[in-house]
């Protein structure tokens, strides 16, 4: 992977100037490359990774992983039915997987009921959906490579050494 992408994947807020210095290119050039990635869709968006356990408000969310068994459509395979499913705003991720089930759908909702309602009233009733198994998420330990534990600032190295 290009170094610029590597830097941005780690820190979406890295400045053009800093990136330019790190990869030994002119800022204008870096800007152009990033624009190109954005246009091509290689960079889709920039966002913060939030540890929602530490956000103290009442809008806590429930998340469920739903295994969905579907009947593929002639000529279209799974794509069309997947699109019908992932277009629901409740769906935050949707993957086609190998194994017993076909789609792994991640759904987020205000509470248990909203998620169950979504499964019962929207997902299960779709024509090509043969069955579902819903797993409610109890605790998040690590997400997208980030360990969701409050980091201590404790420095384990001694401050000065040869």
């Amino acid at each position: 992977m290009d170094e610029i992408l590597e830097i941005l994947e780690k820190d979406g807020r890295a400045s053009i100037e800093d990136i330019a210095k790190m990869v030994r290119k002119k800022p204008d050039e870096v800007k152009k490359i990033i624009k190109k990635y954005e246009k091509e869709g290689a960079i889709l968006k920039y966002k913060a990774v939030i540890n929602k356990d530490l956000v103290k408000d009442n809008e806590s969310e429930v998340r469920a992983l739903i295994e969905v068994n579907i009947v593929p459509q002639k000529d279209l395979g799974f794509d069309k039915i997947a699109e019908r499913i992932y277009s629901f705003p409740e769906v935050t991720s949707c993957y086609l997987i190998s194994g017993t089930y076909d789609l792994l759908v991640v759904v987020e909702g205000r509470n248990l009921h909203t998620v169950s309602n979504f499964v019962a009233e929207k997902l299960s009733c779709l024509e090509n959906v043969r069955g579902t198994a819903t797993h409610f998420l109890l605790k998040k330990y690590k997400e997208d490579g980030v360990i969701l534990k409050h980091k201590s600032d404790e420095n384990k190295r001694i401050a000065i050494s040869y």
């Binding site: 830097i7 800093d18 030994r24 190295r157 401050a159 000065i160 050494s161 040869y162």
Partner: protein, 386 residues
């Protein structure tokens, strides 16, 4: 109690007091650390933990676990095409530090001289003295901190038994291309001077491939090669290094090692063996990260007026602070007291390094940027306003 005369003569120097000052201070951003800021990759730590659960708590053979020596044999063969026999030519040591002590004690007779290009890592001279030898320091500060054939020839006489090379170099980040090393090797072979090659930063070479000294023509029988797990696998605290060389030297080193150390802790050896199997990807990732920080530091320090060349390896950069008119020690002390940024005065690595400081960029990008901002403030205070 009368302390040994050799030990008494060893320099405690002002550096120690400066180090104590740093250690006693809170909220310091330290660019003075000589170890990676990554923790040991998990798969390596896990192997250590698992070995404890399985009850591997005993001694190992003096030379080190066969599994680890065999792993090193393969590793060196794949990486450099070097063929060291795991039974007779490889010794596992407590870091490269122990290995250097062993080799110097193994080869030195009273009156023997050992060449030490400076600036250098701090232990080479003192350990030579402890072994009864005389270190001969070669000032490289006027040659871009590199030992050149000319400088080398100038310091050779009949009493010179060995040279300690270290590249990529702590504290300068300088390294050598194959061609340069070939010339040095030719001279060493001509004068029958043993090459003690400390290549612990070898995996952190950025602009060109690292040349292991024993891969040079005719060099293998005249070189003791040192490397370790500390820097490349971020395993400083595990204390595992290794020495490879001609079997008679390794045998002599093993003799001393068996009486003084016995063996490297088994947990560390098992973890090190795992590092050879699964650590390669982590090393690559760390190297890329260091490489980027190096670019940033080179640009920023030069733009602050602290001139430095772009390091080719390790995680150190060695800027000149002569423009400030301060000595290395004054600069470091004042920077610490006024801006709470710790660096190591160049003089710690040789008297010829007055006017330089060592900055370690084994620190997070955020830390580096904050430290640079503080250094900038520090320098601005000293620039007389027009």
């Amino acid at each position: 109690m009368q302390i040994s005369k050799v030990v008494e003569k060893m320099q405690p120097s002002g550096i120690r007091a400066f180090f104590d000052l740093v250690l006693g201070m809170k909220d310091v951003i330290s660019l003075g650390v000589g170890e990676p800021d990554f923790v040991t990759p998990w798969q390596i730590r896990e192997a250590g933990i698992y070995s404890l659960e399985q009850g591997f708590t005993s001694y190992t053979s003096n030379k080190g676990l066969y599994k680890l020596r065999l792993g090193l044999h393969r590793y060196l063969k794949n990486k450099f095409g070097l063929d060291y026999c795991p039974d007779e030519e490889i010794l596992i040591t407590v870091g490269v530090s122990e290995g250097l002590d062993l080799v110097l004690r193994a080869i030195i007779n009273p009156g023997d001289k050992v060449l030490v290009p400076v600036p250098s890592y701090v232990s080479y001279g003192p350990v030579t003295e402890l072994a009864g030898g005389t270190p001969v320091y070669i000032d490289t500060s006027k040659d871009g901190f590199k030992i050149t054939p000319k400088l080398l020839e100038k310091h050779i006489d009949k009493k010179v038994k060995a040279i300690v090379l270290n590249y990529p170099t702590n504290p300068t980040g300088v390294s050598y291309r194959r061609k340069e090393l070939e010339e040095i090797n030719r001279i060493l072979l001509k004068h029958k001077i043993l090459c003690i090659s400390d290549e612990v930063y070898g995996d952190l070479t950025y602009d060109f491939g690292h040349t292991a000294f024993p891969t040079l023509p005719g060099a293998k029988k005249n070189t003791v090669y040192f490397n370790g797990f500390s820097k490349s696998f971020a395993m400083t605290g595990w204390r595992v290094g290794f020495a490879c060389g001609p079997k008679e030297i390794i045998a002599a080193m093993t003799k001393i090692h068996q009486y003084t150390i016995m063996c490297v802790p088994i947990t560390s050896q098992i973890a090190a063996a795992e590092a050879l199997v699964s650590g390669k990807r982590s090393v690559e990732q760390m190297k890329r990260e260091y490489g980027r920080r190096r670019e940033l530091m080179t640009v920023e320090l030069n733009s602050l007026g602290l001139k430095c060349s772009r390091p080719q390896g390790a995680f150190y950069i060695f800027p000149s602070i002569k423009s400030t008119g301060l000595s290395s020690m004054e600069f470091s002390r004042k920077l610490l007291e006024e801006e709470k940024v710790a660096v190591v005065p160049g003089t710690a690595f040789g008297a010829c390094c007055e006017g330089y400081i060592r900055i370690s960029y084994a620190s997070s990008l955020d830390n580096l940027k904050e430290a640079l901002a503080r250094i900038k403030k520090f320098l601005e205070k000293r620039t007389p306003r027009a």
